[in-house]
Structure formats: C-alpha cells, structure tokens
C-alpha cells in the first residue's frame, strides 16, 4: 500500500522538525527585503547534501511556499515587496494599511495563497503530463507574444496619461538591456561603467522604487509638517480568516482565474511566480468593474495576484518533474538536488520514484495549509510591531534594511548605489504621475522579450512570429484585451 507507506514516510520526527524549521526560515526570508526564495533555496543545498531525498526536497518545498506568501508582509506594512513575486500588488497592500486594513490585506493574501497554492498542487497531481505537453509546445514565438501580452497588460492595468504609462514601460525595457546582450554578448548602454557590464539586478531596483522612495517620501513630508501615520487597527484571528474567505467568495472568478494563470505560467519554463502575479493582476484589472480601486487598495487585485503567485509554485514543478526543465529558478535548484540524489527527472519518475513523488505532493499540500496558522501568527505579531512603531524608529530601520538588503544580493555596494538612485527616480515618478508597475515589468521581462524576438526572427524572419496556431491565439488574446473596454462601450451603447 503506497498510501500508508507514504504517510509513514512523512510522519517521522525528522521530516516534521525539518518542515517546521524551514517554514520559519521561509517566513523570515520572505519578510526580509532583498532576500529571495531562490537565494534561500540555494542556501539549503549544503544541508540537502547530508539529508535523504525526501527530507531534502521537502525542506525546499516548505521554504518556497512560505517565503512567497511572507513577501507580502513588508509589502503591506512598509511598502517594500519581500520577494519580487509581491511587487505587483505592493501599492494596493500598503494603501489598505494606510486605511487601517493592512491585516485584512494580508488575510486576503493568506487565504488566496493557501487556496491558490492548493489548486497548483492539485494541478500538479492530476494534470502533470498534459500540462507539460502543452507547455513544451511553446516555441520562442509564443513566448515572445506571451511577454508582449504581459507588457501590454501592465500598461493597460494602471491609470493616468497613456504617454506616461508608455514612458514608464520603455524606461523599464531599456534598463533591462543594460550590459551584455543575451544573444550576441555585445556590451550595451554601459556608459563605460564596468559594473554595468553584467547588467542591473532587479532586486535593488525593486527595493529602491518601493522602499527607498518611501523613506524619501516620509522625510520630505515630515519637513512639510505632514506625518504619514498608519492606523493601528487590529483584528482577531478568526475575523481575519472569515474576511479572507468572504473576499474569495465575493471575487471567486478572480481567484479561480488567478490560480489557473498561476498554474499555466508556472508550467512554462523560465516564467515564475513574479510574472504569474503581474499577469493575473493585470488581467483582473482589465475585466474588473472596480478599476478605480486598483493601485489604491484593491482587494480584488490582491486576491487575483496572490492566488496566482502561489499556484505557480506547483505549476513550476510540472516541467521539472516530467522533462527535467526547470519551471522557475527554485525548481532549477530542486533539479540540482535531485541529480545530487541520483533521481532522474522524466516521464518515468512517476513509476520509478512513485513513493517519493507522492510524498512530495502531500508535503506540498501540508506546506500550503501551514501558511494559515503561521501566517496568522506573523500578521498578528509583525502587524502589531510595524503599525505601532513611530517614524523615528521605522524610517532608519527601513533605510538600513534597504541598504543591507541590496548589498546582500551579491555583496557589492554598487547595488546600494543603484537602489538609492532608483529610490530617487521612484519618488519623482510617483510624484509626477509616471506609474511604477510598467517599469518594473519592463525590467523583469525586457531581456526575455529581446531573446525571444531574436530567436524567432533568426528562425524565419517576420513570418515566424505569425505562422503558428498558438502564436495566433495569443495575438488574438492581445487584441481582445486591448479592445475589451471599447467593445464593451459599443455593446452598452447599442443597448
């Protein structure tokens, strides 16, 4: 009986203790600006070397699931996304905190993450081969259109002048092109600065535009006699869970769409939780009836994005297990650990390592459920801490976390200078109506866009972008997303 054997495998003190320790480790890493789940997974590899395969892999799964959720905590309380996966809805979370609903924002992300994550795991269990076969059909041309889709959605999902939105996107794309080009390795746009040859890491930029710009904003307004205060409203644990569930019930379509987008994006090699969250947030905005709330504390947007980023974690394991192609950067490390343990990924893994794979699926389920109690604990303790902290303690803490967090990316102070520079840019962009999200998505997707463009172009010129059915489907989807509001107006006008 594989079922009972699997339960025995999991219910050992070693696995239980490892899961608990790594869940706290995941919460800690996620809540620390500048530290990513990928880095945390890499730090676990030396431990994995000494552990059996199940313990080693469960350690990474639990850490990853908890870290992605915990990235929302600093986003809500200090406007710094803990991990890039939380960047899409950082402003919404922080705006809700300003309205005294920070804990509610986190409870929505808590339930959205848990249930979205569970959908991701069920997709992994039930549809692995089918989803992997679908994902493998994506050629460079489909990836190109998918990236275009994401970028266009990011411009459409924010308010304000179209020129300013486009400028923000183009700036982001150009920033991503700094350094060696991904195909020909020509040095570009470095202005002779050697540190720019390797390109700019997007983590210091994220910390800069969200965290550092918040420090600047607080200092600036303080001198004008305006203090940014966060209402210290607190909610009971049961109240938080009930609100989370009622928000999911209210925006059920957003939740399901977000989870499905998360699974599909996760299953695509190279696209991770951050892209899933952006795409889901943008699509949710496009079809929302409450567009005005987006960027100003939209519960709907938070739910759509947060369910997508945790659902993508399960999705990312699909190509990894079935083809040995990593779905995201964490599963790339997972594959390394599998190789270290002589586990060969591929379609036969479900037969040859059936017991291990079933155990991993169950650990994935447990990890997602663990988010609820540990998350509530985190919301209550950190929430109290952040909301009652005066500016003279909070601002130097945010500033120092921004500095040391950027330095920790690759132990260079050049990243700190980049972070400060983008803090200033973010402050002015925000002040003069240039939305930040298109720039961030441009930075994340810019290199991918160029790589897929060049690869497709080299395969067959311009025709290669249009001669595959999946590409055409994506093009139609892009046109549909652009024209939706106009079509809607025409339909309403006729009625």
């Amino acid at each position: 009986m594989v079922g009972i054997d699997v339960i025995y495998d999991i219910l050992t003190p070693k696995i239980i203790i490892t899961m608990l320790l790594t869940s706290f480790y995941g919460l800690f890493i996620g809540a620390m600006p500048g530290l990513t789940a990928t880095m945390a997974a890499a730090l676990l590899v030396p431990f994995a070397f000494w552990l059996d395969p199940l313990t080693a892999l469960s350690m990474i799964i639990v850490m990853d699931v908890l870290a992605i959720w915990a990235g929302d905590v600093p986003a809500a309380f200090v406007r710094i996304p803990g991990t890039p996966a939380s960047a899409a809805y950082t402003d919404d979370m922080y705006e809700l905190t300003k309205k005294g609903r920070g804990q509610i924002a986190l409870s929505i992300s808590l339930l959205g993450s848990t249930l979205g994550g569970l959908i991701g795991v069920f997709a992994l269990i039930l549809f692995s081969p089918e989803l992997a076969r679908f994902a493998i059909n994506f050629s460079s041309s489909e990836f190109f259109w998918l990236v275009i889709f994401g970028l266009i959605s990011s411009v459409l999902a924010v308010r304000g002048s179209v020129i300013k939105r486009m400028t923000s996107l183009i700036l982001g794309l150009l920033i991503s092109l700094i350094g060696f080009d991904p195909v020909f390795y020509s040095s570009r746009l470095t202005f002779g600065i050697p540190e720019l040859e390797g390109g700019l890491s997007y983590i210091p930029i994220l910390i800069g535009v969200f965290g550092m710009s918040e420090v600047i904003r607080r200092v600036y307004y303080k001198t004008r006699g305006v203090t940014i205060t966060l209402p210290p409203t607190e909610f009971k644990a049961l109240e938080l869970i009930a609100t989370g569930f009622s928000t999911i019930r209210k925006y059920f379509t957003r939740f399901i769409t977000g989870s499905i987008i998360g699974v599909i994006i996760g299953a695509l090699p190279g696209a991770g939780a951050d892209i899933a969250a952006w795409l889901s947030y943008n699509i949710s905005y496009r079809f929302s009836k409450n567009k005005d709330e987006y960027g100003k504390g939209s519960e709907e947007g938070i739910l759509a994005a947060t369910s997508a980023n945790n659902a993508s974690l399960g999705g990312a394991w699909i190509p990894s297990l079935v083809f040995g192609i990593p779905g995201d950067s964490v599963t790339a490390i997972v594959l390394g650990v599998m190789m270290m343990k002589a586990i060969i990924p591929g379609p036969r893994i479900f037969v040859e390592q059936g017991r291990l794979i079933t155990s991993l699926f169950i650990i994935f389920l447990i990890a997602n459920i663990l988010i609820i109690p540990l998350g509530i604990l985190t919301i209550k303790t950190l929430g109290r801490l952040f909301l009652r902290t005066p500016d003279y303690l909070l601002v130097p803490t945010i500033l120092l976390f921004c500095i040391v967090g950027s330095y920790a990316v690759d132990f260079t102070f050049f990243n700190v200078v980049v972070m400060i520079l983008f803090g200033v840019i973010g402050f002015f962009m925000d002040r003069y109506g240039f939305p930040i999200p298109p720039m961030i998505l441009g930075i994340i997707l810019g290199k991918m866009l160029e790589t897929y463009f060049v690869m497709t172009f080299m395969k067959g010129g311009i025709i290669a972008f249009f001669n595959r059915p999946l590409s055409l489907v994506l093009i139609i989807l892009i046109i549909f997303v652009i024209l939706t509001p106009k079509l809607g107006k025409v339909v309403i006008g006729r009625r």
């Binding site: 800690f28 620390m32 530290l35 002048s161 020129i163 300013k164 486009m166 400028t167 183009i170 700036l171 794309l173 150009l174 092109l177 080009d181 195909v183 020909f184 020509s186 040095s187 570009r188 746009l189 202005f191 420090v215 600047i216 200092v219 600036y220 307004y221 303080k222 001198t223 004008r224 006699g225 305006v226 005066p390 500016d391 003279y392 303690l393 601002v395 130097p396 803490t397 500033l399 120092l400 976390f401 500095i403 040391v404 330095y407 920790a408 132990f411 102070f413 200078v417 400060i420 803090g423 200033v424 002015f428 002040r431 003069y432 109506g433 240039f434 463009f453 060049v454 172009f457 080299m458």
Partner: protein
C-alpha cells in the same frame, strides 16, 4: 495635501528627454557585429527612439501646462524651490552615499550606528532614544544578516 512644486513635471520631462538623447548617443557605440535587424543594436535603438518621441511629446504637453500656469499666475515668475523642505531629503541621500563610501574603510558597526542615529534625530527622536534605536538597529541587522544568513558585512580597518 500641501501645494506641489508646479514646474516639477515639466522639468522631469526635460530630464527624460536629456536621458533619451544620451542613451541614443551611447547606443551608437554598440558593436553591431555586422547584423542589422535583430542584431545587438536593433532593440536598444528601437526602444530609445520610442522613448525620445515620448519625451518630446511630454515636454510639449507638460511645457504647455506650465506656461499656462505661468500666464495665469499673477506675477508670471517661476516658483522657486523651497530649500528648507528639500534639504532633509538631500541630507538623507548624501548620508546614505557617504555610508556606502565609508563602510569599507570604517566597517559596518560605526557607519550603521551613525546613519541610524542621524535619521532618528531627523524624525525628532530624543538623543537618548536615538542612541538606543541606533544600537538596536545596528545589532539586529548584524545578527540577521551576518550571523543567521552569513552575509559578509564589511569589517573595515578596525575589524568590526
């Protein structure tokens, strides 16, 4: 909200225009490797051209708004920057940059303590509170990053 510095948006558009021109100039230094379409220079130049066009439109639009504001205002003078409001921001930015320059020489503890202390004081903490806050922040970040995560924080000439 407190009244904003009106010409800011116009000046920011000019700044973007200058950036676009500088980027365009820099893009001509890219080695094309003899490839035109799809080569290393193609993508950056296409995007920079787009940015240049957008910046020109922005300068025209924001410039129009600014001059309209000037015409409507009584004394027709460009409002001056209120340095009293901007100086604390400049101080924080300069202090952060000095921190980056000095940390390698002096080490983590003294620089981090000093920066936290200065920023705390800027937010009107009492001196004793600021000293305590700076100590707690310095030690907490050291413990989290250096002890728990093994991030090699600079030790400087004093070795700490």
């Amino acid at each position: 909200m407190v009244d904003e510095f009106k010409p800011g948006s116009f000046f920011f558009s000019i700044f973007l225009l200058i950036i676009s021109v500088l980027l365009l100039r820099e893009s001509f230094k890219i080695n094309t490797l003899g490839i035109g379409w799809g080569g290393p220079r193609f993508f950056p130049q296409a995007l920079i051209t787009f940015l240049l066009l957008l910046s020109i439109i922005l300068v025209v639009v924001e410039g129009g708004k600014f001059f309209k504001y000037l015409t409507l205002s009584r004394n027709n003078r460009v409002p001056s920057v209120r340095w009293g409001e901007v100086l604390p921001v400049i101080l924080v930015l300069v202090a952060s940059l000095i921190y980056v320059l000095v940390i390698k020489i002096v080490g983590y503890f003294i620089t981090t303590f000093t920066l936290s202390f200065i920023v705390s004081l800027m937010f009107r903490a009492r001196v004793l509170d600021a000293l305590l806050i700076a100590t707690v922040i310095t030690l907490s970040i050291w413990f989290l990053f250096k002890v728990l995560l093994s991030v090699p924080l600079p030790e400087g000439m004093f070795g700490w």
